[in-house]
């Protein structure tokens, strides 16, 4: 019997924080030591998270809450900080720390030649600390603090190669666009503070208040929608998705850790964490499900025509996050959304790290310039194939089970969303097979170049193998016949009959998509050029990502820029003008007075004389005119 480790949960974020401080002190020296510190801290964190997770599986324990750190005390209102360990939180801890550890090991090789090596690891450690603390937060405000902190880490890491203008722009975009969402979350917190009994902000009180209907239904709807806006920003849902593809300018391990597995999932986690609020508001749930469903199909269509290997995966991430939101929005329980988050974290991290391995070898990102890599990079090819199959949802890979769970739920409760999900699954299969065949199979490479390529070193392939193994295995915790995960996560099991129709259809469209991809990009029996010329305007629409960036540029950025110009002109010419006028006046006065002091005694004498004459005249005049 393993005892309950939940009361040691505060140790989990502590080690990455210490590692962050240590790496910051090291600066650019001692790469070896920096590596050791980073891997050591991440390993400890992973081990503690794993122990907490296992102990929570083996013991039927209550949620553990520690909230003795009183932070603010204003009159009757007090706000305590602390940490909470529930089954949901321990699952997230495990996801974050395991992917974090694997990405750290992977980055040792990937970032080997970067001179800001230790800085990179310190950022990863800071991110891991913030993300783990976010997961453990007990109240909304604490959650928000770490929510912003992970945003900062994302900014720092996207802009890690800030000498590239594209990376700089992407970092700013990621920060500003998510900030729009964060504003929604912040307003939600303010409304909660205003309406909650005793102004309490901790998750438990909020749940109780919603369940016992102490809040007005319309207020709940507003809170839910505002919270969801926060989630939209962080999880790259439509219409705030534009930052995520650009964020691929960052180093690839970062894309795997932050922009695929953990931080972008924070939005989904937020909705799951405050799920009672959403359950109390059918309207908000409807918004969540349709935004999620729309994002899923929308991003999948864009992914079909992208040429950058990382951007395809980024759109795929947006699409899968859409699935999770859709699953949450259908409104039965958090199980399916969290289950997909769990499996997606592993196979999407795997895909990104695989893409990183490819990029590390060929130093290109355009999939049309790659090909035939399977002969040289066996491990990368196989693990990438497993990741792709898991993403497409081919049984028995993990993605199949989680996607099937979502589709089953949609099939039973909302047929429109079901067909959206099926279409997305087909598109997913198509773009992933396109990616796979073009990168790893293909024929358009000259042999000279291909001979220079080789498999990535072991410290990069081992994380791939581990993630591939996880991508195969983790799906079995929740299958149509086995509801263990659901029972563990939310404490009850919905017994549903196995929907063979859903399983068959989703597998069929997956295989169909792969077939189509194979025919177009491997056998080339259907010409992709012909397709793109035949549907020219659709193709152009997709290549330009539905012109969303352009629309934002015209509707928001340009007018704001114009307003900024006008205000800056006002500042320059009116306000600064006044300042300059004052200073010029003083300077002029100074110039006049310096000219008076010219060292010519005769001038001084003359002025004195003039003064005397004026005085004499004044006295004489006074006598004649008789003033006073």
């Amino acid at each position: 019997m393993i005892s309950d480790f939940s009361n040691y949960a505060w140790l989990v974020p502590l080690f990455p924080l210490l590692a962050f401080i240590a790496l910051l002190i090291l600066g650019r020296q001692m790469k070896e030591l920096g590596t050791k510190i980073a891997i050591f801290a991440m390993s400890i964190t992973f081990i503690i998270s794993l122990m907490i997770f296992i102990s929570r599986i083996l013991n039927e324990t209550e949620n553990y809450i520690w909230d003795n750190l009183r932070w603010i005390q204003i009159g009757d209102f007090s706000l305590s900080m602390g940490y909470e360990v529930s089954n949901l939180n321990s699952l997230m801890l495990l996801i974050v720390s395991s992917v974090g550890l694997l990405v750290t090991i992977y980055s040792v090789e990937y970032m080997k030649n970067d001179e800001r090596y230790n800085v990179f690891f310190s950022y990863i450690a800071l991110f891991t600390f913030s993300m783990l603390s976010l997961v453990l937060s007990i109240n909304v405000l604490q959650f928000y603090i770490f929510w912003e902190l992970v945003g900062v880490c994302s900014f720092l890491l996207v802009g890690f190669w800030f000498h590239k203008p594209a990376a700089k722009a992407a970092a700013k975009k990621a920060f500003i666009v998510t900030r729009i969402g964060d504003l929604g979350l912040f307003i939600a917190i303010l409304i909660l503070f205003w309406y909650m009994p005793n102004h309490s902000l901790d998750f438990i009180s909020i749940q109780n208040a919603v369940v016992t209907s102490q809040l007005d239904p319309s207020v709940i709807t507003w809170i839910a929608i505002l919270i969801f806006i926060g989630a939209i920003g962080k999880s790259g849902q439509f219409p705030l998705h534009t930052w995520l593809p650009d964020a691929m300018e960052g180093p690839t391990p970062i894309s795997a850790l932050i922009h695929a597995a953990t931080m972008v999932a924070a939005g989904v986690f937020l909705v799951a964490r405050t799920y009672e609020i959403f359950l109390a508001s059918p309207d908000a749930l409807l918004v969540v499900s349709y935004v999620g469903g729309f994002t899923a199909i929308f991003a999948a269509t864009i992914a079909i025509v992208q040429n950058d290997i990382k951007r395809i995966l980024a759109y795929s991430t947006i699409s899968q996050l859409g699935y999770m939101m859709m699953a949450l929005g259908i409104g039965i329980s958090i199980t399916n959304g969290m289950f997909h988050l769990f499996t997606h974290a592993f196979f999407k991290a795997l895909l990104f790290l695989g893409a990183g391995s490819v990029i590390h070898t060929v130093h290109k990102q355009n999939i049309h310039e790659m090909g035939q890599l399977s002969s040289k990079m066996k491990i990368t090819t196989w693990t990438f194939a497993i990741g792709a199959l898991a993403l497409i949802g081919i049984p028995p890979f993990s993605g199949f089970w989680s996607k099937d769970a979502i589709l089953t739920e949609a099939y039973l409760h909302n047929t429109a969303l079901f067909w959206i999900g099926i279409t997305t699954a087909f598109l997913t299969a198509f773009y992933m097979s396109r990616l796979f065949f073009l990168v790893f199979m293909g024929k358009n490479m000259n042999n000279q170049e291909i001979n220079e390529y080789h498999e990535s070193p072991r410290s990069m392939t081992i994380p791939l193998i581990v993630l591939a193994a996880l991508s195969v295995c983790v799906g079995f915790i929740q299958t149509p016949a086995n509801h263990w995960f659901e029972g563990w996560l939310i404490g009850q099991q919905h017994e549903e009959s196995i929907q063979w129709f859903v399983i068959n259809v989703s597998t069929a469209v997956g295989l169909l998509g792969i077939m189509l991809g194979y025919m177009v990009y491997q056998r080339r029996s259907i010409s992709s050029e012909q397709l793109s010329t035949q549907f020219r305007w659709i193709h152009r629409l997709l290549v330009n990502k539905y012109y969303i960036d352009e629309a934002y540029s015209w509707i928001l950025v340009k007018p704001l820029h114009g307003l900024g110009m006008i205000l800056s002109m006002f500042d320059e010419y009116v306000i600064h003008g006044l300042v300059r006028l004052t200073s010029n006046f003083v300077v002029g006065l100074n110039q006049v007075s310096t000219r008076l002091q010219n060292g010519q005694l005769q001038n001084y004498g003359l002025i004195t004389l003039l003064g005397l004459v004026i005085l004499a005249l004044a006295i004489a005049g006074k006598r004649f005119i008789n003033v006073g």
Partner: protein, 103 residues
């Protein structure tokens, strides 16, 4: 007061004005010194005129003018000495160029 005083006072005034004009406008430092002497002598003339035709005629004015002449002599001696030193250092007796007070 005796009306005979006015020609003396007018002469003294004219002398003083000539002196002050020269002191303020001439470039040569020697002439400036001479003009200062002129102004002092105009004052002496005043003093003497008042001691003879003033409201209360007395010898005080004449004695005072003697003191004045003494001081004027001393002043001229010091002035000339300064001028010579200046000339040795700067090779000029042009008043316009003596503008170090500016700094």
């Amino acid at each position: 007061m005796d009306p005979n005083i006015s020609p003396y006072l007018m002469l003294a005034g004219i002398l003083f004005c000539i002196g002050i004009f020269g002191a303020l406008t001439k470039k040569n430092a020697v002439i400036v010194l001479i003009c200062i002497e002129l102004m002092l002598n105009a004052v002496n003339l005043n003093l003497i005129a008042f001691s003879r035709y003033g409201v209360q005629p007395s010898l005080t004015g004449q004695i005072f003018s003697l003191f004045n002449i003494t001081i004027a002599a001393a002043e001229a001696a010091v002035g000339i000495a300064i001028l010579i030193t200046l000339y040795r250092n700067k090779y000029t007796i042009n008043v316009k160029e003596m503008n170090t007070l500016k700094h």
